[in-house]
């Protein structure tokens, strides 16, 4: 609104003051209405998370009441159990009646697993999707379009299709191949970091590849040509020059990959037993139908697991939105 900062000359102010005033009032009214609507929508969607967080700072009896009570004195004993792994029954002095055993609700190991698996699988899947996407964008070979259609079809494939085949592959390979090489009882794939990583990499490959291809499509081929005229091989043109231009795409793909890995449940559940269980698999071990559900502990587990990824999302929000929309609009 720099126009309003006119230098004070002797010229009379623009007339229509009355009209301008009503217009400004109307704008303010519109702004209030529109902002309240947006705020209301945001709060409706965010309020379950707040409500669930409040459960984590109440003693158990107060979580199971209607209407809900808001306590003036929040307790953080659930967090001692969930984050510090303390013996649940130590907290009994605050009125918690605990059925769980020590360590049942200790979320940190699975949180570490989730972050480790998320970061590693993101690096690997973007790392191998980027050259593939470059090739799909730059080379025009026979079967290129059927290859793209096939990659897309794996994105559409429900994971139950791969559930049992992967389970069988993992257990059989461990029993028959890896046990023979590394000694009996070795787990190379089933219930191991490698096996979980493989699943998390592979579920992200289709979208990463197609998303990055659309980014490479927007980078002019003149750049490749110039690099190759200067004596680069095609690999050098890619690895020294072109990929830098795809960095925003790689960031978007990486964020999407991390979130997909963070949320993945069915396949991780199938290929793990006790080791390398991610947060979703850990969350699924609680029986919430039983009468004695310790809601406070579950709420504390949820909050602890949600906070890191919320911070991550708020930091990368711009890229996340771009990745999601590119993923949807360009494939």
């Amino acid at each position: 609104m720099a126009v309003t900062q006119l230098p004070a000359t002797g010229v009379a102010k623009p007339q229509t003051t009355q009209a301008a005033r009503t217009a400004r009032a109307r704008h303010r009214r519109e702004s209030i209405v529109q902002t309240s609507v947006a705020a209301l929508i945001a709060l409706i969607f965010f309020s379950p998370i707040i409500y669930w967080f409040l459960v984590s700072v109440k003693p158990l009896p107060y979580t199971m009441t209607w209407p809900p009570v808001i306590l003036s004195e929040p307790i953080f004993d659930w967090y001692e159990v969930v984050v510090l792994g303390m013996d649940p029954n130590v907290g009994a002095k605050t009125g918690i009646v605990f059925n769980g055993a020590a360590g049942d609700y200790y979320v940190i190991p699975s949180l570490v697993n989730s972050i480790l698996i998320g970061v590693l699988s993101t690096i690997i899947s973007v790392g191998i999707a980027t050259p593939a996407a470059y090739a799909l964008s730059r080379f025009h070979f026979k079967r290129r379009s059927s290859l793209i259609a096939w990659i897309l079809s794996t994105r559409m494939m429900p994971p139950v299709v791969a559930m049992f085949p992967l389970f069988w592959l993992y257990t059989q390979a461990d029993q028959r191949v890896f046990s023979a090489i590394f000694g009996r009882g070795t787990s190379v794939l089933y219930d191991s970091l490698l096996g979980v990583l493989l699943v998390h990499v592979v579920i992200n490959l289709p979208l990463s590849t197609l998303l990055l291809k659309s980014f490479f499509d927007d980078i002019p081929t003149d750049l490749d040509e110039a690099a190759m005229v200067d004596g680069c091989t095609r690999w050098q043109a890619f690895s020294k020059v072109i990929w830098h231009y795809a960095l925003p795409g790689m960031a978007a793909a990486a964020i999407l990959a991390f979130i997909t890995s963070w949320n993945e449940f069915l396949l991780t559940l199938t290929v793990t037993r006790t080791q390398f269980r991610t947060v979703p698999v850990f969350g699924s071990t609680f029986d919430v139908s039983a009468a004695g559900t310790e809601w406070g502990a579950l709420a504390a587990v949820s909050t602890t697991a949600m906070v890191p990824v919320f911070i991550f999302v708020l930091i990368v929000q711009r890229n996340l939105v771009r990745g999601l929309t590119m993923g949807a609009i360009k494939g």
């Binding site: 519109e30 702004s31 529109q34 902002t35 609507v37 947006a38 705020a39 929508i41 945001a42 709060l43 969607f45 965010f46 998370i49 669930w52 979580t63 209607w66 809900p68 191998i128 050259p131 470059y134 080379f139 025009h140 070979f141 079809s153 794996t154 559409m156 494939m157 139950v160 299709v161 559930m163 049992f164 085949p165 592979v202 490959l205 590849t209 081929t221 490749d224 040509e225 091989t233 095609r234 690999w235 949320n263 449940f265 069915l266 199938t270 947060v279 979703p280 969350g283 699924s284 709420a299 587990v301 949820s302 949600m306 919320f310 929000q317 939105v321 999601l324 929309t325 949807a328 609009i329």
Partner: protein, 300 residues
């Protein structure tokens, strides 16, 4: 143009002048993830696992006949489609409405509201399931109590429990909460990318906001909407997490989706059946996706 015409001279497979070495890791991994399971499932679907002898026995065509006469599977099939169709419509209508609300020109602090609004998307569905299991508790759950007060459901038939009459509503609420932001976000990006000329022309022609939406914006958003719908269909066909956490398919199988049925079969070592279901859902996903992409001309 530097498009490489590989046929002009023979490029060795491993040369970076040809495409294959670039694509090799992706192709190998995706073969393990999609081609191998497909072939393996076809073979296993003709067998039955014998837990005593720990071996597969030829069992054709019993699995396949069983599948199409099995009331559990047919019910899961019906539930998946009912729930999917309702969730899709609700999320689409809500998502478009919310995108329009966020797109208004005089919204203050838009970034803040948008950030809060998209957070449900990054809550792992399992965690969301735990949360909604609490919020939908028949006695002290806030959602249940609001729905009782509104007269949507009755205390004798709570969201989760009872005869399971309202259990799909419970799953629906969780799915709508988590994925409406996704629809809204993408529609919002589509709205922001709309060309100005048609909108301005319509405004000059005196179109009101309602006409502007129905006759100008919506037709221009067709492509974006087609892709959003496709992504939601694909996800709804594989719905599993909420069911596994909130209801385990119950009560009385009233919330069991296809994926949960397959998982239950997997748990009870009915691996022949798991493979049959795997092939059915794969074919289903391919048919739905292809038909949809053809009808709406979705291009990738």
């Amino acid at each position: 143009m530097t498009e490489v015409h590989a046929h002009k001279r023979k490029v060795p497979f491993w040369s970076s002048d040809g495409p294959w070495i670039w694509l090799l890791p992706v192709i190998i991994l995706l073969v393990i993830y999609s081609v191998y399971p497909f072939i393996f499932n076809i073979i296993i679907s003709f067998h039955r696992f014998d837990p005593m002898e720990k071996a597969f026995r030829w069992n054709f065509p019993a699995n396949w006949v069983d599948l199409f006469t099995n009331s559990d599977f047919l019910k899961a099939f019906r539930i998946t489609f009912t729930l999917g169709a309702i969730a899709l419509i609700v999320e689409l209508v809500l998502g478009i409405a919310i995108a329009l609300a966020f797109d208004r020109s005089r919204v203050k602090l838009r970034g803040l509201w948008q950030s809060l609004f998209i957070l449900p998307m990054v809550v792992p569905p399992v965690i969301a399931g735990l949360m909604f299991r609490f919020l939908q508790n028949a006695d002290y759950g806030i959602i249940s109590n609001i729905l009782y007060a509104l007269g949507v459901i009755e205390r004798s038939e709570p969201l989760i429990g009872g005869t399971g009459r309202n259990v799909l509503l419970a799953i629906l609420i969780a799915d709508v909460w988590q994925w409406t932001p996704f629809v809204a976000l993408i529609v919002l990006a589509g709205l922001k990318a709309l060309p100005h000329e048609p909108l301005e022309a319509a405004i000059v022609d005196g179109a009101n906001r309602w006409q502007l939406f129905w006759e100008v914006k919506l037709p221009l958003l067709r492509g974006v909407l087609a892709v959003v719908i496709l992504f939601r269909i694909v996800d709804l066909l594989r719905l599993f997490d909420y069911v596994a956490i909130m209801t385990s398919g119950g009560p009385g199988g009233n919330s069991e989706t296809i994926s949960h049925y397959a998982y239950r079969m997997h748990k009870s070592i009915e691996w022949g059946m798991v493979s049959v279901v795997g092939i059915v859902v794969l074919v289903l996903a391919i048919v739905v996706t292809n038909a949809y992409m053809r009808v709406f001309k979705v291009k990738f």
